[in-house]
């Protein structure tokens, strides 16, 4: 190996390391503040790690705040949204990938158009629509809105995965005696699992961190999701950073678990060996 190649490799690794540090530093800071005792928070100046650590913030958040309820609400909303969106997106993506039908171009165009508006613009109309239906201040309403906003992008995502699966496979299944839906369920869907996992992950995290609609459609802490709940740590006169960060760390857990669960499906290459030699 020549010196230039070693240098190239080192530079490459260093660049990756720099990027990872940059990307993960806020998370580190979150963790650091969450374990810093209140009296050290302002007295120690800027340090990478406090001289003493405590889990008090976590204890307080779990025992004395409404955080567990926010957490449960978020879990319900994000989980349901991810599930419903992915099912719809899988069906939609399959149709976009395989079928020729009238107005397909228009439909795809329309789906794209929905992605062009800043959400803030739509808050008022959505509120106007949901309010008479009794869907404001309700988790169902939130799920409905999140699903509506996530399905278009998720559909394109799924379509891409289906496009990568040769149509020969379901045609072979249909000749073997399956109808189209059976072929979809037994042959295509198992091969699209990486796509399903990616879509689930994408929609789940999007719903988990969504703030604008949660803030506007939900009043009071009964139905609040976690991003809105975080605001309860901001009071009129002070911000309880330690507790807020502790809540933040806890909120990261489901997202991490979720990706841990689906990561093995995110690995591509399931269709290898299907066609040709």
């Amino acid at each position: 190996m020549t010196a230039t190649r070693i240098f190239g490799t080192l530079a490459h690794r260093a660049a990756i390391l720099a990027f990872i540090t940059f990307a993960l530093f806020p998370l580190f800071w979150l963790l650091k503040v969450s374990v810093t005792p209140n009296d050290l928070l302002y007295s120690e100046g800027v340090r990478l790690w406090p001289s003493a650590t405590t889990l008090d913030h976590f204890r307080f958040v779990l025992a004395n705040s409404e955080f567990p309820r926010f957490f449960a609400n978020s879990l319900i909303v994000s989980g349901t949204t991810a599930l419903v969106s992915t099912v719809l997106a899988a069906l939609m993506g399959y149709a976009l990938s395989r079928f020729r039908f009238r107005g397909k171009m228009w439909l795809a165009g329309l789906l794209l158009v929905t992605q062009m508006f800043p959400l803030v613009m739509l808050v008022a109309p959505i509120f106007k629509i949901l309010s008479p239906l009794g869907l404001t201040n309700s988790l169902t309403g939130l799920i409905l809105v999140y699903t509506a906003f996530n399905v278009p992008f998720a559909s394109f995502l799924m379509q891409g995965f289906f496009d990568g699966i040769p149509p020969d496979l379901e045609q072979a299944a249909m000749i073997d005696g399956a109808d189209r839906f059976t072929a979809f369920r037994q042959i295509i869907l198992p091969l699209a699992l990486p796509g399903v996992a990616a879509t689930l992950g994408f929609v789940f995290t999007a719903a988990w961190s969504e703030m604008i609609f949660a803030l506007m459609l939900i009043s009071g802490s009964e139905k609040a999701t976690f991003p809105v709940g975080l605001l309860t740590f901001v009071s009129k006169f002070s911000v309880d950073y330690g507790q807020m960060m502790a809540a933040g760390v806890l909120a990261l857990i489901p997202a991490c678990l979720f990706f841990l669960l689906i990561q093995r499906y995110l690995v591509q290459g399931m269709t290898a060996g299907a066609v040709k030699g």
Binding site: P166, D168, L169, Q171, A172, A173, M174, I175, D176, G177, A178, D179, T182, I187, P190, L191, M270, T271, A272, G273, A274, V275, K276, G277
Partner: protein
């Protein structure tokens, strides 16, 4: 097993007609090969029989039942794809038993049928493997196995050997032929390879431009091609063509030279094309044959020699097994045995 009937079938994609007025009767147990260059519509026709493409016009019948609107699962046919289309997440055994499982066949029967088929194809040691752990030839066999476990009414093959190397292709070709003799099932086989067509078929259907050009036994097509397309497509190297005018019992070439026609052919008909296969041309030293031609290239193939000549401004090939012609010199003469000549009229049809 089944008979099949294709009645004035046509297919449009939008305004483009890719198949026009296709008529074909297929007997019980017959091995039919659809052959033609790419884009001739042969695969489309096969997929219409399978139910994977809609039929624009006409009727397809299997055992006298109209299939037009029936989904593929209702037709009881098996198909081997060019890409093999094995289910990558299933083992070889599961791939082969999928159709039986869909039919809710009981377990012992499935095991027995898969075993029988896998022994027949030499796959019995691979049953637990996934397709990606198989070689191209093995995958091809699994695709065949998946078709035969079902004992369907008919087999459809869509260029099944195109992805194999030459030696394996030759071997599988013989196996397919043997398998057909054993099972006796009606088969339709699509290929662009005229050697496959000649060796496999009971009857060949030569297609071009969305039309059937000729239907017949391999030797029919070789000996009596119905038109210029079939004449040029069947045979390797392809038939030589000499264009000219027929008058007074001779064909006058563009350079003024003449070829005498046998008495069985019309003595006068205007513009025509004379065809002769390279293997029927008799080479001779220059000046000692019917026509002289310049030699461009000598291709020894081992079992023969292909001489590339220029005759009347066109490429003309001679296939000989006489090694004297390995170094023929700059020019040679060619003669044509009268019984080996084919004459086509100005429309390209056999006279």
């Amino acid at each position: 097993m089944a008979t099949m009937e294709i009645r004035s079938v046509s297919k449009n994609y939008g305004t483009i007609r890719v198949l026009d007025d296709i008529n074909l009767q297929i007997g019980d147990g017959e091995f039919i090969v659809l052959v033609g260059p790419s884009g001739c519509g042969k695969s489309t026709l096969l997929r219409m029989i399978a139910g994977l493409e809609e039929i624009t016009g006409g009727e397809i019948r299997i055992d006298d039942r109209v299939m037009n609107t029936l989904p593929p699962k209702g037709r009881d046919i098996a198909m081997v794809f060019q890409s093999y289309a094995l289910y990558p997440h299933m083992s070889v055994a599961d791939n082969m038993s999928y159709s039986l499982r869909l039919r809710k066949t009981d377990k012992p029967t499935i095991t027995q049928k898969v075993r029988a088929a896998s022994v027949k194809l030499g796959l019995d040691a691979l049953l637990e493997r996934k397709p990606k752990a198989l070689s191209g030839g093995q995958r091809q066999r699994v695709a065949m196995g998946r078709a035969i476990v079902r004992q369907p009414k008919a087999f459809l093959f869509d260029e099944p050997l195109s992805n194999l190397d030459a030696r394996l292709r030759e071997q599988m070709r013989a196996e397919i032929r043997k398998l057909h003799r054993e099972l006796g099932a009606t088969s339709i086989y699509v290929t662009h390879d005229q050697v496959e067509a000649m060796t496999l078929a009971d009857r060949i259907v030569a297609m071009h431009g969305g039309h059937i050009q000729q239907v017949g036994t391999p030797l029919d097509l070789y000996d009596r091609p119905a038109n210029l397309f079939v004449a040029g497509f069947i045979g390797s190297p392809g038939m030589n063509f000499l264009a000219g005018d027929v008058a007074g019992g001779v064909l006058r070439l563009s350079d003024g030279r003449q070829v005498a026609l046998p008495e069985t052919m019309p003595a006068a008909m205007g513009g025509a094309t004379l065809g002769i296969r390279p293997e029927h041309v008799l080479p001779a030293p220059a000046g000692q044959g019917a026509l002289d031609a310049t030699v461009d290239l000598v291709e020894p193939t081992g079992h023969g020699i292909i001489l590339h000549l220029t005759l009347a401004g066109a490429v003309f090939k001679v296939l000989t097994h006489d090694r004297r012609w390995l170094s023929p010199g700059p020019a040679i003469a060619v003669s044509f045995p009268p019984e080996a000549l084919h004459l086509f009229n100005a429309e390209g049809l056999r006279v």
